[in-house]
């Protein structure tokens, strides 16, 4: 019998690889493409140099007061530097700022740990710590319960407040929204209707309206005499708002898990919660990861709306700084640009984290 020998693989032809070929193919393939390419290059060439000049070369970096900004043609970063403590920490007492930093470090440490630890330790240590983090942070920041100096929530503020508030809402909203999504799929009519009403209410009402309700209406529901802190009310509102959105994200994920997965889990004799938590939830999270992250980013950015109800998060601190009598006279470009850049860096890092989670969760090994 004749033996079958596969042909050896050949290298790709030389004129289809390399940077010059790539440019020919992608940038100058047709007259229209060439014109567009050149126009875009011309646009960047006129815009970027003055921008770089204003941002960096002519910018004023050194000093403590407005008078240090001598070069009119450059940005006044002195403003941002002088107010940076307020931008990041609000009016939190300077000597107690380590507490805020500790909470942030805790948050970052748990995120890193959940990447580095193996599955067992992650489920047993990192996830419970994650769920406790908002409450531990409140203990630390407030201080009065654990023997530190009491810092009223009136003094909490700045960008760290945006971060911690968003993180605390996300952490609580995650399990809550999963339960709502489960409830919406439930066979039990009562649970299903309650879930639908909750989800649709918190998704359908604008977040600003929810904030006002939280600061004005919510106290009416608390028993008389109790005074729930404004920040706690905001936390509740953000959490519920986030849960409404996330529940729908999870519902999409539930629908994308093939029916065979439920049947296989059933046929092994797993009970409802084992099936849901061991088989379905991990797959739902994997499928929904891009949308979960989009919701996180949305919520994080929405924390700037809190300036409307007088909470000193980063944006309202910036506005306060801009109207300070020592700094009057148009630093708003620098101020808002700084806020934008800080938020962008955070949101972009969240995208990066989400991408790497997606890669980590991807066990399909398909190309």
């Amino acid at each position: 019998m004749k033996e079958f020998k596969p042909l050896p693989a050949q290298p790709a032809p030389n004129d289809t690889i390399g940077p010059i070929h790539w440019m020919k193919e992608n940038l100058f393939s047709s007259p229209v493409n060439t014109i567009v390419t050149l126009a875009i290059i011309a646009f960047f060439a006129t815009v970027i140099p003055p921008l770089v000049d204003w941002l960096f070369i002519s910018a004023n970096w050194v000093g403590n007061t407005q008078s240090a900004c001598t070069n009119e043609n450059g940005a006044c970063w002195v403003f941002v530097i002088a107010w940076s403590k307020q931008f990041f920490y609000g009016s939190y007492p300077v000597e107690e700022i380590w507490r805020v930093n500790l909470c942030l470090i805790g948050l970052v440490a748990i995120i890193i740990a959940s990447f580095k630890l193996n599955k067992d330790l992650r489920n047993k240590i990192a996830i419970p710590l994650f769920l406790l983090l908002p409450f531990i942070s409140i203990l630390f920041l407030d201080g009065s319960w654990i023997g530190l100096e009491y810092v009223s929530t009136d003094y909490w503020g700045g960008f760290t407040l945006n971060v911690l508030l968003a993180a605390a809402s996300i952490i609580v909203a995650f399990p809550l929204s999963f339960l709502w999504a489960l409830g919406r799929r439930s066979d039990m009519p009562f649970i299903r209707s309650v879930s639908i009403v909750l989800i649709e209410f918190f998704r359908g009402v604008p977040v600003l309206a929810l904030f006002f309700m939280g600061s004005v209406m919510l106290p009416l529901f608390f028993p008389e005499g109790t005074n729930v802190d404004k920040l706690v009310r905001v936390w509740i509102v953000l959490t519920l708002f986030m849960s409404g959105y996330m529940a729908e994200v999870f519902r999409g994920g539930f629908q994308a898990v093939p029916k065979g997965q439920y049947e296989a889990a059933d046929s092994l004799g797993l009970n409802f919660w084992q099936k849901t938590l061991l088989i379905i939830l991990p797959q739902v999270i994997k499928i929904s990861m891009p949308n979960i992250l989009a919701t996180f980013v949305m919520l994080f950015k929405n924390t700037t709306f809190l300036l409307i109800i007088g909470i000193f998060e980063m944006l309202s601190t910036t506005q306060t700084a801009l109207t300070n009598s020592n700094w009057l006279g148009g630093h708003s470009t620098e101020g808002y640009l700084f806020v934008a850049v800080v938020f962008w860096i955070c949101c972009f890092s969240m995208s990066m984290i989400s991408n790497s989670i997606e890669r980590k969760l991807d066990t399909s090994h398909k190309n």
Partner: protein, 256 residues
């Protein structure tokens, strides 16, 4: 009612007793008066055209499908509307699906140990040892730490069989186990099933593999339009069909 008590009612050695089983999807009558008794250790192959209710019938046995009328007793436990009861029956019945349905987020080993650890509450070490034993039986112990997505269809189906066996079931149900496989991989799965049959496992197998039926089946059941049309030994079914419906079916599947 205790399991022991019910077993005393079923004094014979029938492991599955189906009486007058009827099922509707809405108005559509999918299973009509199904009566079937399966002895312990019996190997049954169920065939029939698509839509004849053969998959639905075996899916009723571990209650992946509900039925509206009739009774079903599996290993002495009567199937009633009760979560504990259903879970008890599912622990006795292993099932292999057409599309394998392995859990894609777990490794092969984790797929195999999940049931023993969470349902049978076995220690992890013991569950893993059992799992490796069954992986060797289906001849892929070297794939234990891979994910299902990295395996070929035939390998995945063998893992699915091993996953069911890890639960130490009394009965194995196969729902078209080779229908989603490339021709080259069908044999490796059938070999495992033949081996299992030779060891005396009670098997109900929906399949179009007539060679497999001839080789191992004690009884072949032919279904059409939600009814059991004919049941007999493979020789009788293939050599001597009693109804024109079976004759037509056989001529269509054997002549191509």
């Amino acid at each position: 009612m205790s399991i022991e008590h019910e077993q005393s009612i079923e004094s014979n050695d029938d492991i599955i007793v189906i009486k007058d089983l009827n099922k509707w999807y809405g108005d559509f009558h999918v299973l009509k008066d199904i009566n079937l008794r399966v002895k312990k250790g019996e190997r049954i192959v169920i065939c029939g055209p698509s839509g004849s209710g053969k998959s639905t019938m075996i899916r009723c046995i571990n209650r992946l499908e509900e039925f509206q009328r009739g009774s079903l007793i599996v290993n002495g436990v009567e199937m009633i509307e009760d979560v504990k009861n259903i879970e008890a029956i599912r622990r006795e019945v292993g099932m292999v699906f057409q599309h394998f349905n392995l859990f894609p987020h777990l490794t092969i080993l984790e797929n195999l140990t999940l049931g023993p650890i969470w349902v049978q509450k076995k220690p992890k070490k013991e569950a893993e040892a059992t799992a490796m034993k069954y992986l060797e039986r289906v001849k892929i112990p070297d794939q234990a730490l891979k994910f299902p997505g990295q395996l070929s269809g035939g390998q995945q189906q063998r893992v699915a069989i091993a996953r069911s066996l890890c639960m130490n079931p009394e009965i194995m149900l196969f729902d078209e186990p080779t229908s989603a496989l490339d021709p080259e991989m069908i044999k490796e799965v059938l070999d495992v099933m033949v081996e299992l049959a030779e060891e005396g496992m009670t098997m109900l197998c929906v399949t179009h593999e007539m060679g497999f039926a001839k080789k191992v089946a004690d009884r072949v059941i032919f279904m059409d339009a939600g009814e059991i049309v004919e049941q007999n030994t493979p020789e009788e079914i293939f050599q001597n069909p009693q109804t024109d419906r079976l004759q037509l079916f056989l001529s269509q599947i054997l002549d191509h």
